[in-house]
Amino acid sequence: MRLEYPPNVKIIRVPCTGKVDVMHMLRAIQKGADGVYCVGCLEGTCHYNEGNLRCRERVNHVRMLLEEVGLEGDRARMYNLSSGEGPTFAEYAKEMTAHIKELGPNPLKKMDT
């Protein structure tokens, strides 16, 4: 399809979004990532029944934790699509990148020595 999406998105592949843990997302932000988002299958279509629902819950938890420490909770987001939706994947990458640019860089980044 030769789709383009912003090159600043670093993809980490997992077998199912149910594998993504709160600490994976939190550590990304802690280490200076400006944002983190999970792209899971559409709700109701998880091969493992509830992997993407668990991920959604964990993303919400991370959003709460980020607010607690004084960062924007919206630096973490959850998106859903089916595996056949390449264009939607690129669309979400663009949307997330634009959204994060609006929020600005992660303030923790400049504090790291």
Partner: protein, 223 residues
């Protein structure tokens, strides 16, 4: 198991604001099972504190470790060599573990990261319900396995109060009446006799700290 809930982050951050080197100590038993203070929760809280203190321009050096049980000297011993490097300790164990940690290191400020809540059961992952108040005089044999001390809002021993309302307690419609449940269960078992006897007032002197020495474990008396 003992169930705890993590304290609000702001409260934890505030307790530690004057300390520059803090060791976060988790506990691998009850609070790990109830997802409040085990290894993973130690990781999350430590990461949160690290980020928050950096954002406040008051960075803190954080260490983290989880011992099998903080209510056991045998496991606390492993901390002896680490503790002296830190200004303060943060404990994610239950109240007993926190106190035992503070007792072992009396020169170090020790702070609680969780609110110890109750002795409860696991209804689902992350969902716990209170079942026992550890009153030290169990009446479950008489009450069909339903605890009136925990489940009855008034802790009554001799049947329901006037507030029982079609199976619900007067404090809330969703709160079942303990004595209604007790009656129903015993009635099905044909054991209603067991609650016919009047239970005398309880001796609540157990409100002071209690000690239990299991049979066969009493230390020989010293001369």
């Amino acid at each position: 198991m003992i169930v705890a809930k993590r304290k609000p982050f702001e409260e934890i951050k505030n307790m530690l604001k004057d300390y520059k080197k803090v060791l976060n100590v988790g506990c691998g038993t009850c609070v790990a099972v109830c997802l409040a203070g085990g290894e993973k929760e130690v990781d999350v809280l430590t990461a949160e504190l690290d980020m928050a203190r950096k954002l406040d321009n008051n960075p803190v050096e954080l260490g983290k470790t989880t011992v099998e049980r903080q209510c056991d000297r045998e496991y606390l011993e492993a901390l002896d060599s680490m503790v002296e490097d830190y200004d303060a300790l943060l404990s994610m164990a239950c109240g007993a573990g926190i106190q035992f940690l503070a007792e072992r290191y009396p020169d170090k400020p020790v702070f609680p990261a969780v609110d110890t809540s109750f002795i409860g059961v696991n209804q689902d992952v992350g969902w716990y319900e209170e079942r026992c108040r550890s009153c030290s005089s169990c009446v479950l044999g008489m009450t069909g396995g339903i605890c009136p001390v925990t489940m009855c809002a008034k802790g009554l021993y001799n049947g329901p109060c006037g507030g029982t309302n079609n199976g619900s307690c007067e404090i809330h419609q969703d709160q079942p009446c303990a004595w209604y449940m007790i009656y129903e269960r015993l009635s099905k078992q044909g054991r209603l006799d067991s609650i016919m006897e009047v239970v005398p007032p309880q001796d609540w002197q157990n409100q002071t700290p209690r000690t239990v020495i299991q049979p066969g474990y009493k230390k020989p008396e010293k001369d």
